[in-house]
Symmetry: C2
Subunit: 277 residues, 2 copies
């Protein structure tokens, strides 16, 4: 918050997927016109485009490119699939470098046909294999723990503790942790693990939205801050107490909001950010 | 498993809600005819019935009444609601005594309008208030940790560690823990916490089903054992290594299965139990 006790927009970042109906060129115009300073780019938004030129276009709109979302998905029973995943992660790192962002967010993956402990081992192996490439490219990899309801296919890393353990083990400047309130708000050890993450220098991204009550779809029913039961301000205070001073990234997947007029939705996002973040 | 390496039915219990379309009298007949030895009764199945007579009817069908499901739902911002919850829990304990089962399963509750830590405190207070009544009635209360996707309204107790911590704090013969694979399968500390639970003498119930991939409904899309990604056999081996020798309770909420012919569904349950538990 600024000195008036209200959020200005200087630390607000919005993910391209949040306003998915817009093409990235429209997104840039609308964000910029609204005074938003940060953007996180999802890879689908770059399809069919020259990535370097797109990065320049975003900079020309005075946008900081906070991160590229997303790669990961390391685990697979089939070793060829694991190799393909590594190749795709290398491409993501190259895309991030071309785009001009310092970070790639990892959704680590899980293969439901094998044990979670095997998926976890493959995630660790996969990230380890990427670190040299990340280092050369100057791109940081952010492990994002995902909600346990995604442990079947999206991520076998489901708590801040697991992400912290893994980042500590790598002990690399190229591996950090992305905290998304949607995934971790329920965790009784959240405050402790956020503190630990910050102390380790691993707290590299902070994503916000809300958990609607009820939530009618496990993937595409996220809410705006203030619409649900996540104590976003409290979690943000923990993140900031842990030393984080980066962007607050609004990442919302919502079939309902994607159907709305996106300009009006953007105004709602800004209001929710000011009032409830 | 028995000596042939296949599950016989001597430790199979099925929840009345699993075959919800049947009235409890039909359920008793079908379970008994199929050679099933255990039943857990949901309170809705008792509506409009004399509970003592219903308990006797189940015993007459050679069924062990494993537990009564469910009470709990302690947290509420409004103190009158908390008081009502206590009253309802007392009634559940009385119903369990009338029915002739030694255990009530607690779905502990959560109020999304307050912090999780407040809900957790109210759960602890609520259970503490019930212990004398439970003791007098000879009924054990089983804390069931629920999946974190239910932390908004159903339970602020979301891991085995939380349930173990709470049961340890009470250190009462009338407070135990119910392990349901659906809620806890994702937890990297599951094996350790199951061991701890058994060593403490708190492991009092074991519920099984499976997590379908994909899961299309957060509440009513549970799968039969073997249909999803939960390592049911592995978790059962941990539970048994921790000293548990009670019933394996099949608890499945499934709109799809409730639409099927329930006799055919019961055959599927038995086959899934034999092959994948």
């Amino acid at each position: 918050m600024n000195s008036t006790g209200e959020n200005d927009l200087s630390k607000l970042c919005i993910h391209t997927i949040t306003t998915r109906p817009w093409k990235i060129e429209e997104t840039a115009q609308h964000f910029s016109a609204a005074g938003i300073k940060g953007i996180t780019v999802w890879r689908d938004a770059l399809e069919g485009r020259n990535i370097k030129q797109t990065g320049k276009m975003l900079l020309d709109h005075d946008l900081t490119i906070v991160s590229l979302c997303r790669s990961g998905f390391f685990p697979a029973k089939d070793s060829n699939k694991r190799k393909s995943a590594i190749d795709d992660n290398r491409r993501a790192i190259d895309e991030a470098a071309d785009l001009g962002t310092p970070m790639v967010v990892l959704v680590c993956g899980a293969d439901p046909s094998q044990r979670l402990e095997d998926s976890r081992k493959q995630i660790q192996d996969g990230i380890g294999e990427l670190i040299p490439h990340a280092s050369t490219a100057g791109i940081r990899l952010a492990i994002e723990p995902l909600h346990p309801m995604y442990a079947d296919t999206r991520s076998a890393i489901n708590t801040m503790k697991q992400a912290n353990d893994m980042a500590e083990e790598f002990n690399s400047p190229w591996v950090g942790v992305a905290v998304d309130v949607y995934h971790v708000w329920w965790d009784p050890f959240l405050e402790i693990e956020i503190k630990r993450c910050g102390e380790n220098g691993h707290l590299t991204a902070f994503h916000i939205c809300d958990w609607k009550v009820p939530t009618v779809d496990m993937l595409l029913d996220r809410g705006l801050m203030g619409e649900g039961c996540i104590p976003v301000k409290q979690i943000r205070s923990w993140v900031e107490a842990a030393g984080f001073n980066g962007f607050n990234e609004v990442e919302i997947f919502s079939t309902a909001y994607w159907k709305e007029n996106q300009s009006e939705y953007l105004r709602k996002i800004i209001k929710a950010y000011k009032d409830h973040s």
